[in-house]
Symmetry: C2
């Protein structure tokens, strides 16, 4: 193959976010980069698609080795729109991020960034979601460069198992203790709703709160690694089947 | 325990949908029912949460054994709002549906109905998502009554394994070939975007298309059972970790 690899990038913070600009800059050396990203932030979009509204797209930039489109839909819409409508050919790699905020543990389920990797996985292209502990709009993601380069080089060379994508979470730091391949942690959010009052007297709520792992001492989880200064890499699978539970449920067939 | 079981129900078609009314009617004999459902349709919401807007709720109905709230958020918001703000105590069961449209195969990822079961799972309460092949607003879901009763009776008595919920999909029919416990199928959507033109000349897109399994002959998938007249029950797990892929990735730790 003489062609340079084609790398599709999306995110859930919007095409103007600093995190996606950083990711584009880090991976341009590996191939041609094609961005299709939301026209504004879409945090917590999960794998949502825009079922009830029309979706628009807009060419933002076109230069050698880099094309950028914005899209009025969700992160998942962006990937679907890229594959069917915008990309010149099937990409060799799909990347989400860099997300402003980590997507460790069960938060992978809520994450628009991770949904990009899952949609790439459905399209049978190797896919990776990158997230950082830095939440701020003006965060400096430069510390993640060696991690992004290492993971992208590995995936471009070796691919990933069918139906498996990667969820990469780096702490809010410029240097890390190292990289750890970890399982997805389990936990839940607490004090999830903050009540407020409208000037006309009715109540409304903002989603907020804090995440707590069920077992903070579990050193095998992504959350543990992330909380202890390591970059956590977790392979995630598209197949949700709980195979071990199938046998006992067969009583329902009778 | 002298108290009747408390059953939380939500959906993604909105609290006024026929499917949720049918499910409420089918399960009232098992316990007190508490509905917190979106104030309008939220198809394809996946596990999305409302991160950038305030969320409101409204008491719709309160009668012995049945309370109904609407909520301006996503299906997942509804479950979170129920647990922390609205329910009188932890529920014994969380149900999603009955969805107007099936959620077989990878579509479980996009589904708001399935997200309700996953959120219940995060909250460590046995949870089931019910979906029907009937798409129409005025569909007759009565044929699902014996299936819903069987599954709810089983789960109330036996519970479900930790981190596992059920995805139940019944064909658009009044009678079924039987129930099959199946794995989640794999496949993808095609012709996903329908282009249209605004009166002012710019293009926009509607998400549409058709789903096709990668292997239509695979008799172990939920899609195969559903397409052949069976009710498919698939246990889904919250833990997305691709354990089998972890070892080969450890090279990234070096």
């Amino acid at each position: 193959m003489n062609e340079r690899p084609l790398i599709l990038i999306s995110n859930d913070d919007g095409y103007q976010a600093k995190g996606i600009a950083a990711l584009v800059d880090m991976v341009r050396k590996f191939g041609d980069v094609f961005v299709v990203a939301p026209d504004a932030p879409r945090s917590g979009a999960s794998m949502g698609i825009t079922a009830h509204d029309p979706v628009r797209n807009k060419l933002i930039k076109e230069e050698p080795g880099l094309t950028v489109w914005s899209c009025s839909g969700t992160p998942d819409d962006c990937v679907k729109m890229a594959f069917e409508v915008l990309l010149p050919r099937r990409p060799d790699l799909v990347l989400g991020g860099i997300n402003h905020g980590n997507n460790c543990a069960v938060n992978a389920h809520y994450s628009g960034t991770v949904s990009i990797a899952f949609e790439g996985c459905i399209k049978q292209v190797p896919s990776v979601a990158f997230s950082s502990g830095y939440l701020q709009a003006d965060a400096d993601f430069e510390g993640m460069r060696p991690v992004v380069e290492k993971v992208v080089a590995y995936v471009l060379e070796h691919g990933l198992p069918k139906g498996v994508c990667l969820n990469v979470n780096a702490p809010a730091a410029q240097t890390f203790q190292g990289i750890k391949v970890q399982r997805m942690g389990m936990g839940d959010w607490h004090e999830e709703w903050q009540e407020a009052q409208h000037p006309h007297g009715w109540n409304y709520y903002w989603i907020a709160g804090y995440y707590a792992p069920f077992d903070p001492q579990d050193r095998t989880s992504d959350t543990w690694a992330f909380d202890h200064g390591y970059v956590a890499i977790t392979p995630l699978q598209l197949d949700l089947t709980a195979y071990e539970a199938m046998n006992e449920l067969k009583i329902l067939q009778e």
